[in-house]
C-alpha cells in the first residue's frame, strides 16, 4: 500500500522489540466480543488510476458553474480566483502544517493570520477580527451567543431578510442553549421595520446587508435605536466583495460583523469548506469566540506572532470557554488573504464595482422584459425579480436552456405565501456580455 512505509520485516522486528507475539497482542484491551473477526464489507485497496477514474465519473455527473451562463448566489458566489492563490495554498508548509501551537516554527501561519485579521478589520470597518470561524452561518450563531455573554440578555431578534439557512443555524444552536430567537417576516423589497422588535430584554438584532434578496440598507439610524436599548447590532455580510463598493458595517454602527469569506480565494465547492469572518470592537475582544493571533517579541527582541488570549478558549477554559471551536478554517483564511492581497485597495474596489455593474446591467435588461419586475430597488451584485409565473418553473426552463439563472426564493423559504414567483439572481465579474445576452434571450423565450 503506497501510503504505508513499514515492511513485513520492519513489523516483525518492531514486534520483537515490543515483546509482543503478534499485532493482535497489541489490541488485547479491546473486548473480545467486540473485535472484528474479518475484514469490513468494503472494497479492497485501489491504485491511483482506479480511484481517479471512479471519482472522475462522479465529478462528470455534475454541471460546473463555469460550464455556461451562471447567476446563482444566495450566500455563495462564483468569482474568479487568481491562479497564484491555489498554487500558494498548496505549498506543503501551509497545507500540511498544524494549528500554530509551537510559534517558533509556525511564524508563516501566524503572520498570515495576523494579516488576515488586519484585512478583515479594515474591510468591515471594525477594530479587531479573529482568525476565522467555519463559515458565515456558524459565525452568526457564535455572534448571537457572544451578544448574550456581553449583554446578559437571552433574546435575539433576527431580521426576516437574513439568509433563511443562517436563521435556521442560529435558531438551532442559540435556541438549544436557552436563548429565545425571534425571526421577522421576510420583506423582499427591503425596509422592514426592525427597531420596534428590539426591547430591553434583547441581546442583539441580526441584520444581513446586502440582505437575502439583495437589498442594501443604511443601518445607521437602526444602529442608534438598537444601542439606545442596550442591545448589540450584528451585521452579516454573505457577499464580502460588496465591501469594496458599499459603506462598511463598522461605519454604520455595527458591534459585531460576521462575514462569509467564500467569495475571495475559496471557490464554490458545493458549500464547503468556506471561511467565516468575525470582527468586533476592541472592548468586546475578551468575549470573542475563536482563535486570535497577536504580535509580540521573542527572547532576542525580534517581532513575532503567537496565538493569544487563549484563556477564552476550550483547551484552557474547558466548560467556561467562550466557544467550543477548535479547528477553524486556516487554509481558507490563507486563500482569502492572498486573493485580497493580490487585489489590493484598487483591485478590491474595482472588482466590487465590476460586480455591481454586471448586476445593474442584468437587472435593467431582465426587468425590461414584459411581466418581469425588479423587486429590490438598491442592491450590490444580487437582486430579486418577480416573474409572471412560478419561479421554479422558470428556473427549470432556464436550466434546460443551459442558463443557471438564480435561486427561487421558495427553495429556502418553503411554504411562504407570495414568494412563489420570486427569483434571486446574482451577477459577478465572471459573467460576460454573452452570458447576459443568453439569459435575457432565454427568459424572453420562456415568458413569450
Amino acid at each position: 500500500m503506497r501510503y504505508l512505509p513499514l515492511t513485513d520485516a520492519d513489523r516483525g522486528a518492531m514486534l520483537a522489540k515490543i515483546g509482543a507475539r503478534s499485532i493482535e497482542d497489541l489490541f488485547r484491551d479491546v473486548p473480545e466480543a467486540a473485535r472484528l473477526k474479518g475484514p469490513l464489507d468494503l472494497p479492497r485497496h485501489q491504485g491511483e488510476i482506479e480511484v481517479e477514474r471512479a471519482l472522475g465519473r462522479l465529478a462528470a455527473m455534475n454541471v460546473p458553474a463555469s460550464a455556461g451562463p451562471f447567476f446563482v448566489g444566495c450566500g455563495a458566489y462564483k468569482h474568479h480566483v487568481p491562479a497564484s492563490v491555489d498554487h500558494l495554498i498548496q505549498r506543503s508548509e501551509f497545507l500540511t502544517s498544524y494549528t500554530p501551537y509551537q510559534p517558533e516554527i509556525a511564524q508563516g501561519t501566524l503572520q498570515y493570520l495576523f494579516e488576515f485579521q488586519t484585512q478583515v478589520a479594515l474591510i468591515t470597518g471594525m477594530e479587531v477580527a479573529n482568525a476565522s470561524m467555519y463559515d458565515g452561518s456558524t459565525g452568526t450563531a457564535e455572534a448571537v451567543l457572544m451578544a448574550e455573554r456581553v449583554t446578559r440578555r437571552k433574546k435575539a431578534v433576527l431580521c426576516g431578510n437574513l439568509h433563511p439557512h443562517y436563521a435556521d443555524v442560529v435558531a438551532t444552536v442559540a435556541g438549544v442553549s436557552g436563548m429565545t430567537i425571534e425571526i421577522g417576516d421576510p420583506v423582499p423589497g427591503g425596509g422592514a421595520n426592525l427597531a420596534d422588535a428590539v426591547d430591553a430584554e434583547t441581546a442583539c438584532l441580526v441584520v444581513q446587508n446586502p440582505d437575502f434578496f439583495g437589498n442594501l440598507r443604511d443601518l445607521r439610524a437602526l444602529a442608534a435605536r438598537v444601542h439606545e436599548k442596550g442591545a448589540l447590532l450584528i451585521v452579516v455580510v454573505t457577499e464580502i466583495v460588496s465591501l469594496g463598493a458599499v459603506m462598511s458595517p463598522g461605519a454604520m454602527g455595527a458591534d459585531i460583523v460576521v462575514g462569509e469569506g467564500q467569495s475571495l480565494g475559496v471557490g464554490l465547492q458545493f458549500g464547503g469548506p468556506y471561511v467565516g469572518l468575525f470582527a468586533t470592537r476592541q472592548k468586546l475582544v475578551r468575549q470573542m469566540p475563536g482563535r486570535l493571533c497577536g504580535e509580540t517579541v521573542d527572547a532576542n527582541g525580534k517581532r513575532g506572532y503567537v496565538l493569544t488570549l487563549s484563556t477564552r478558549e476550550q483547551h484552557i477554559r474547558r466548560e467556561k470557554a467562550t466557544s467550543n471551536i477548535c479547528t477553524n478554517s486556516g487554509l481558507m483564511c490563507l486563500a482569502f488573504t492572498i486573493h485580497l492581497a493580490l487585489l489590493g485597495e484598487e483591485g478590491f474596489k474595482r472588482l466590487a464595482r465590476l460586480n455591481h455593474e454586471a448586476a445593474v446591467r442584468l437587472a435593467e435588461e431582465l426587468s425590461a422584459i414584459p411581466g418581469v419586475e425588479l423587486v429590490t430597488p438598491h442592491f450590490f451584485n444580487e437582486f430579486t425579480l418577480r416573474l409572471p409565473r412560478s419561479a421554479q418553473a422558470v428556473a427549470d426552463a432556464l436550466a434546460d436552456k443551459g442558463v443557471l439563472g438564480g435561486v427561487r426564493a421558495s427553495r429556502l423559504l418553503p411554504g411562504r405565501k407570495g414568494i412563489e414567483t420570486l427569483l434571486i439572481v446574482a451577477a459577478t465579474e465572471t459573467n460576460t456580455d454573452d452570458d447576459r445576452a443568453a439569459y435575457v434571450r432565454a427568459l424572453k423565450e420562456i415568458l413569450a
Binding site: D10, L55, H87, Q102, M247, V285, G304, Q314
Partner: protein, 524 residues
Amino acid sequence: MNEQGRPTRLEGAMPTPSEVRTFSGHRGLDHDEPLLFESGRPGHCGVDLPAPSLSHDRLGGLAREGAIGLPGLSEPEIVRHFVRLSQKNYAIDTGLFPLGSCTMKHNPRLNEKLARLAGFADIHPLQPQKTIQGALALIEELARWLMVMTGMPAVAMSPKAGAHGELCGLMAIKAAIAARGEKRTRILVPESAHGTNPATAAAIGFSVDAIPATPRGRVDVAALKAKLGPDVAGVMVTNPNTCGLFEDEILAIADAIHGAGGYFYCDGANFNAIVGRVRPGDLGIDAMHINLHKTFSTPHGGGGPGAGPVVLSEALAPFAPLPHIVHDANGLRLVEHEADAREEGLNPFGRMVAFHGQMGMFVRALAYMMSHGADGLRQVADDAVLNANYILSSLKDVMSAPFGDTGPCMHEALFDDTYLKDTGVSTLDVAKALIDEGYHPMTVYFPLVVHGAMLIEPTETESKESLDRFIAVMRGLAGEAKAGRTARFTGAPYFAPRARLDETRAARQPVLRWTPPKPAEAAE
C-alpha cells in the same frame, strides 16, 4: 595554478554566527519578511481587471467613500511574500510531526487533485439538483463507508469539524431526551477529555460533571456509576482515550449509561487506532464524530478546515440535522426543510450549517478510503498502533511512561515529566529542544491527568528508520537532561526562525492587527 580563482578550500578560523550581523536582517535562506501592509504602495495591483464603464449605480447612496487601507502589490511580490512565509513553517511534508491526539499523517496529493476537479470544486450548493447528482452520490458513498466502518446505521454529514460534530451529537441527544418528554441536564465527562467536550456540553446548556481516571489511565467506572441518575443525559468518552489507551471497560460504561436512561457519546478523534479492528457500533455507542482531517488524512492546513461527520445509533438517527439525502424516482434528492423531513419520517433537531458540509474534505476522505480499501484501513490501524508501541518500548527505560507497564498503548504513547525531576528541565524545554533537532514537538501538557504530559503520536505513515532516528534523539535529550547539561534546553530553540516568544506580553498588551504608524513616528 590560477592564483585568482574562486577559493575552494576552507582555511583559517571561521567566525561564529553570533559575530555576524546582516544588513538585511535575513539569515541566508531564513528571510525576515515584513507585513503586507508595510510593503504595499498605492497604485500597485496584482490583478488586471477591466475598467468600470457604467455611469450610474443602484447603491442607494451607500457607496463607500475614502480609503480602506489595503496595500497594493504586484503578483511577483505577493508570491514571494507568501513563499517566504511558508518557509517559516514546520509541516508533515518536512518531517515527523508526532503531535499526540492530532493524527498528523501523510496527506496524499491524489486527494488534492480530485478535490479540484471542476465537477466538485466549481459547483454551487444551490444549483438545481439535477445538475449535482454526482456530488450527492459522492456524499452518499462516503456516508456508506463511514457507516460500514463504524457499524452504525446513520450519519450526519454536515458538521464542519470535530467540535462541531460534538455539538451535533449532543443536540441529537438533547432532542431524543426531549422527545421522550424528559429533561436531563447533566453530562459526564472524564478528566482526560479534550477541552472541546466540556465546552460543547456547556455551550448548549448542560452542566458538566468530571469523572476521575483510575491509576491505569482509564475512566473510573465505579465513580461514573456513582454519578449516574435521572438527570444525566449522557456520557462523553474518548476511545481510545487521550492517554493513548483503549477503554477496556467500555461495554460496562455503555450498559451503565443506557441503564440509567442516558446516551453514550464517543469522541472519535482517535478512530485511527481502531479502524478496521473494532466498530463503535459494537461498543454500545450512540453518537461519535469522525475527524476526517485526522483519520482520513484531509490536510490540517495550519488549523483547518476539518470535517466532523457524526455517526448515530438507531435511537438518535431520526433526530439528525438537515439536510438529508434521499432516493426518489428522479435520483438523489436533498431534504432541506423540516416539513419535507417529516414526510420522510424524520424529526431533525435543526440545521448546523448553511449548506451541505465540507464537500472539499468529503472528496479527499473518500479518495483516501478507496485507496486503502478494507484491507489497507485495517493496516493503517495496525501500523499506527505498532509505531506507537515501538516508541513506547524504545523510550520507557529513559523517560517515564505512567501507564507503560499496564499493557500496550494504542496509537499514541504518553510520557510524564517524572524523568525530568530535579534536572531543571521542563516538558516545555524538551519540546523546544526538539525543534532544534528538526522535529515538531509532541503534544505537551495534555492530557491533564498526568504531570508535564508528553503525548507522542507517530501515525502509520512513518518508516521504522524515521522512528529510530527520532528515538535516538529522544534518548539523547533524556541523557543530557539527566546529566545536568541544561543549556541546550532552557534557551531552546536556537535554530528556529524565532527564539521563544513572549506569550505573556501578547496577552497583556494585545496587538491583534497592524495599524499605520502615527505620523510623528513615520516622519522620523
